[in-house]
């Protein structure tokens, strides 16, 4: 039995139907937090089975045909078991939900840094030493690595147009036409990509650091050439993913192949410098944005043209325009994206693919329009909120941008702001404020979960991952709430493909999708308990381990009579997507100081107000937003992967040279949520939240820089030299 649901229309039940336990929506602790901070939670590379061998990936130092010139020497080095060169090794990580192998092969280096061999040895040090000793020659092919040297092929171009942008632009009262660039970016999660492969006969057990197990299971099966049923993937704890662990990664495939060949467990951990090149980066973008408006600031035209890149053979293309399609109303629209084929490390999903860079550039452009038109930036946005999706005409399932803008500006004290730039000065520092809206598409994915109820309490089981996002906490809260148990008697088991397949973690859909599956599984159990109580499920109250209805109260354990019962839930996206436009929105406000002497920027305040459906746990929700806003600061001021102009390799492959914001760069972050009850989400009414807070946060900072000192930075990040260029 199972309770299944397809989201085809609005939820009929009224209200939040939370339950009586009062744990959902509360700031519960993360149940696994203690294990993580004390080192007791085993991450992928931590178990050490007997006889385990260690692998180290070897990178291609150049482009083109690969030749190893001292293979025999390396094979004879101390401790070396094998130098694996297998055509099934993968060029780069699989894209999310691809379910098949990505491009495979080791003979041809298509980007510098591509893994072209795995050295396996008795110890990690021996493997690394031998890997570094291996001499790899490449033909040194002259492949295109820079955007300015590439032209998009016809089938790499997407365009949608409505009305006539050119004439609207020409006849408008106010207009801007500017080009913005964002660099390649990377997530470089705290836990490097790691895998431990063990074979039991023809069956592979893979411990790995991955986000979406059901897909990755199929991907590695396809890579290695076995059936998905013969693979079990385990990822109970994942130290961050941000998209880079959506698909199977190079070390996992190599570990599986080596373990099979050697008949021993093999562990492969990516070196931090490999994390920066063999997974997926966020594509650099060049975005030309044209906006035109009438006297009142009503947009009459929107043009957004983006250049992004990827390796040949990758079908992912940074969806830069994703939010532009629905963010603002304007009758004349031209949206165009071109994908350049560059021999840089593969591009893929990085936290909020599309909006993170697309909304950022667009919201800088909106600020430029506000300045050009002499309209307050908040007012400009309020004036252009669409009633329906501007392109399809579909209604929004819910739209709370106006509340985010007005509540957010009140919280921040926006009205106190001087209109013109360069008005406030403290010593050498210019002070200014800026804002930007936030947009992110919302999606629901197929997900299943199982909930077991027994005298011991509640146990939730699904292959969902917790990548630092609090899946353990919120799935437990949902089940505890629906089944009337305290959290102390609720257990959550995750990260094992032997359990029901969930949505996995990605695209901010994990909590809403898998959470709904858990809700539905509980629904089945509630119906069963109601049957045993002889009442309607709707009239049943479950609290503290008791069932109540019609003035009767019985311990749930008594109703179970010593047995345990299992509920199954499954949710699928239905026709909702064809009937409504669904998104999350928000507003960012920033205050910065800019040194007139050096061009250094310090963020003094950053505030975000978000509408993202029901907030399941305000503590973990806020924590997600802190992370996203911090990413925004990094995107605005410090982060960029630098590609060598000659061969495209990533030059800054460590945390010393790739500048994440550090504590001193991040002020207190203010997070607020506005009520958002979207009926088109199933009974849980939760939307995605993990990514929204990046989308536009960087624009608020960049706009504040302009307000502070009058310098408009259009090439991110706004490092001191770029700000200074405008100051001198």
């Amino acid at each position: 039995m199972s309770v299944e649901m397809k989201i085809d229309g609005p939820e009929q039940a009224q209200g939040d139907q939370t339950g009586a336990q009062a744990v959902l929506g509360y700031a519960a602790d993360r149940p696994e937090g203690g294990l993580k901070v004390t080192g007791a939670a085993p991450y992928a590379a931590e178990p050490c089975p007997a006889n385990m061998a260690h692998g180290f990936l070897v990178r291609a130092p150049g482009l083109g045909k690969v030749r190893l010139t001292n293979l025999e020497v390396v094979q004879g080095m101390a401790g070396v078991l094998t130098v694996l060169r297998d055509d099934r090794m993968i060029r780069n990580a699989a894209q999310g939900t691809s379910e098949g192998a990505p491009v495979q092969g080791v003979d041809q280096a298509e980007y510098v840094g591509q893994p072209i061999a795995l050295v396996v040895a008795e110890s990690f040090e021996q493997a690394r030493h031998a890997a570094l000793a291996l001499r790899v020659d490449t033909a040194g092919d002259d492949l295109v690595v820079n955007p300015q040297d590439a032209v998009a092929a016809d089938d790499d171009i997407d365009e949608t147009a409505q009305g006539d942008l050119e004439s609207a632009f020409a006849s408008s009262a106010h207009r801007i036409d500017q080009t913005y660039t964002t660099p390649s970016l990377i997530s470089a999660a705290m836990e490097p990509h790691a895998a431990l492969a063990e074979w039991d006969g023809d069956k592979l057990v893979l411990r790995a650091s991955l986000q979406m197990l059901k897909y990755s299971r199929t991907e590695i099966a396809d890579c290695v050439g076995i059936a998905p049923e013969d693979v079990r993937v385990l990822a109970p704890y994942v130290g961050g993913g941000f998209g880079s662990k959506l698909g199977i990664c190079a070390e996992a495939v190599a570990a599986a192949l080596a373990a099979r060949q050697l008949g021993r467990p093999v562990r492969v951990v990516q070196h931090r410098r490999q994390v920066f090149e063999v997974n997926t980066r966020r594509s650099e973008t060049t975005q030309r944005i044209r906006l035109c408006a009438d006297m009142n600031g009503q947009l009459t035209g929107i043009g957004h043209q983006a250049l992004v890149s990827n390796l040949p053979g990758e079908d992912f293309a940074e969806p830069v325009l994703q939010a532009t399609h629905f963010a603002y109303a304007a009758p004349n629209r031209l949206l165009r994206r071109e994908v350049l084929r560059l021999h840089r490390p593969a591009a893929g999903s990085v936290r909020a693919p599309g909006e993170a860079v697309g909304v950022t550039a667009f919201e800088i452009a909106m600020d430029e329009l506000a300045c050009a038109a002499g309209i307050d930036p908040v007012a400009l946005r309020l004036r252009n909120i669409p009633r329906n999706d501007p392109e399809s005409g579909l209604p929004f399932s819910s739209h709370r941008l106006a509340e985010c803008l007005t509540d957010g500006s009140r919280r921040f004290g926006w009205s106190k702001r001087p209109t013109a730039p360069r008005q406030q000065r403290e010593g050498e520092w210019w002070i200014g404020t800026g804002m930007a809206a936030a947009f992110r598409v919302n999606s629901m994915m197929e997900a299943e979960a199982r909930v077991v109820l027994s005298a011991q309490g509640v146990r939730v089981e699904t292959d969902m991952t917790d990548i630092g996002t609090a899946s353990y906490a919120i799935l437990g809260q949902i089940a505890a709430e629906r089944l009337g148990h305290p959290l102390s008697r609720t257990e959550v088991i995750l990260g094992d493909t032997d359990l029901p397949p969930s949505s996995g973690s990605g695209g901010s859909f994990g909590a809403a999708s898998t959470g709904t599956a858990v809700w539905l599984a509980c629904e089945e159990l509630r119906r069963m308990l109601a049957g045993r109580m002889g009442c309607d499920a709707a009239d049943l109250t479950l609290k503290d381990g008791y069932a109540l209805c019609d003035n009767r109260r019985r311990a749930i354990a008594d109703l179970l009579d010593g047995a345990s019962v299992t509920g199954h839930g499954r949710v699928q996206p239905g026709e909702a997507g064809d009937k409504v436009r669904q998104a999350t929105t928000g507003a960012h406000f920033a205050e910065v100081a800019v040194s007139d002497m050096t061009g250094e920027v310090r963020v003094r305040r950053l505030a975000g107000t978000y509408a993202a459906g029901r907030i399941l746990n305000p503590r973990t929700a806020r924590s997600q937003c802190h992370g996203g806003m911090t990413w925004g600061i990094g995107m605005a001021l410090t982060e960029a992967l630098i590609h060598d102009r000659r061969d495209g390799h990533v030059v800054n492959r460590d945390f010393e040279a790739f500048h994440l914001p550090v504590n001193a760069d991040v002020p207190d972050l203010d997070v607020a949520f506005v009520e958002d009850r979207d009926d088109w989400l199933g009974p849980l009414r939760a939307k995605g939240l993990g990514e929204l807070s990046i989308c536009g946060a960087a624009a608020a900072v960049i706009n504040a820089v302009h307000h502070a000192c009058g310098v408009r930075v259009r090439d991110l990040p706004a490092t001191p030299d770029r700000v200074l260029e405008g100051l001198v």
């Binding site: 030493h129 570094l132 410098r273 504590n663 001193a664 260029e725």
Partner: protein, 324 residues
Amino acid sequence: MRPFDYSRAADADTACTAACAPDAAFIAGGTNLIDLMKLEVLAPSALIDIGHLGLDQIEEQGDDLRIGATLTNAELAADHRVRRRWPVLSRALLAGASGQLRNKATTGGNLLQRTRCPYFYDTDTACNKRNPGTGCSAIGGEQRNHAILGTSEDCIALHASDMAVALRALDAKVEVRTAGGSQRRIDLADLYRLPGDTPHIETCLAPGDLITAVHLPAARGDRQQYRKVRDRASYAFALVSVAAVVGMKNGRIDHIALAFGGLGTLPWRDPDIEALLTGEVPRTALFERAADTLMRDAEPQDGTAFKVALGKRVLKAVLTEVTA
């Protein structure tokens, strides 16, 4: 990492003798050396740990200060005498690296830290400093943390230390013990060598030479400043830094010492700027000339071109503030 021998020297003599062996290296805090060994940029066959030689003392000698070579950067920055009388040194130290690194990093190791040129750390690229004669990947490649002063056609690597910049402005001397047991004291200025066509030779030290202490004379100016501009608020090397030690008399600059980070292939000091400023009444036009003098021989690449304007601007601002 290549297998290596590790020994804990019992006394300085044994340490120096052991370090004369081919491929041997001293290890102090290890914050730079171990990273380089993991990447096999360096592959010493023997490490001689100097952490137990009692070189971590700090003592007053008259008005001067003698700083042991293995005193940590954290301890040195926190020393009350340094904070009071050589505040520029304390500030420079605290502007460097991170709290964790400063707890390990030592005086001697900081002086001898290797450049942060990313190609130097990438054994798959050509680098004259790492592999003499192979070429310089930074020239014609990507530059940012690179020098614009004292560069050569063979190397534009920056000396990245903050501490050494302050020490140069303070006329520090370095005490060196040689394998033969003799001691010598050299000006910090003479410790370093310009890259020329031998960028792999960075100092005048011979194999077995152990830095035992840094000698800090009484500061000649009571106005001291360290200003560091970087790509993020903390935990980043300097794009440009300026250490200034100034004494004023009757409204004139009586004495001035200026040293620069982020600009030079070694901790940079330019006597011409100081000569130009000494005895003068502080004024904008004078500072402009000082800034032009600093950059008169600058040879930036496209990635470091911004340092010319930034360096001038920071120098002018520091001079304005410190002479006010």
